[in-house]
């Protein structure tokens, strides 16, 4: 099963520009997480935002969460070629015993 839907599916920008990816989900959540995947193998955790938080920053990353709209956005500022990757949002429901469920991802391409 997949919970989140990322938008857009693909994004191409120039180095130095900002990249914004959006994620929508369906259920009531405990937290929402963003991950990055290079070359179709293991994912790397970027940031976690809890349901009672509205915004979080980590370096060049800014994540917002709107639980009333069941949506989140990931902003990467001053993008670099090395940011080229696929980005996924994942949610944990607010019920115990539920798994981390991923969306379909956004493929970001940053050209120099």
């Amino acid at each position: 099963s997949q919970q989140g839907e990322e938008d857009p599916q693909a994004l191409s920008i120039q180095e130095g520009e900002n990249a914004t990816m959006n994620c929508s989900y369906k259920t009531s959540i405990n937290n929402l997480q963003w991950y990055r995947q290079n070359s179709g193998r293991g994912l790397v955790h970027l940031i976690l935002i809890r349901s009672n938080e509205r915004e979080k920053h980590s370096g060049r990353l800014r994540v917002t969460l709107d639980t009333s709209k069941k949506s989140s956005s990931l902003l990467i500022t001053a993008s670099r070629a090395a940011d080229t990757a696929s980005y996924f949002c994942a949610t944990v429901d607010d019920q115990a015993g539920t798994a981390l469920i991923f969306g379909k991802g956004t493929t970001l391409s940053v050209s120099s």
Binding site: Q2, L43, A96, L100, G105
Partner: protein, 113 residues
């Protein structure tokens, strides 16, 4: 410290054969997840373990798929009578608890010929 380890990295098998995929989570992590990812697609959830029990196995696509976890550590995902549509990368992740940050292995690329 060691991360999540998956073996084998690559597996080519003939249609109809059984395969076993292994995941060694980070020591002390109680939560363990299995996902499947087809080329260019998102992560399809398969099963989630908390300790040795599986509170959520809703993602297993058919009764040919099974998974177990022993000693709250190593997990194996078994696919019986493999089909070509089983070809994918199988990813394992572990987490200190069930709701936090997950750490991923590098996956097993399964090719059914």
């Amino acid at each position: 410290g060691a991360g999540v380890s998956q073996s084998p990295s690559n597996k080519v098998t003939e249609k109809g054969k059984d395969v076993e995929l292994r995941c060694d989570p980070i020591s002390g992590h109680t939560a363990l997840y299995w996902y499947r990812q087809s080329l260019g697609q998102g992560l399809e959830f398969l099963i989630y373990f908390q300790g040795n029990s599986a509170p959520d196995k809703s993602g297993l696509p058919s009764d040919r798929f099974s998974a177990e976890r022993t000693g709250g550590s190593v997990s194996t995902l078994t696919i019986q009578r493999t089909q070509q549509e089983d070809s994918a990368v199988y990813l394992c992740a572990s987490s200190p608890q069930g709701q936090g940050k997950a750490f991923f292995g590098q996956g097993t690329r399964l090719t059914v010929v």
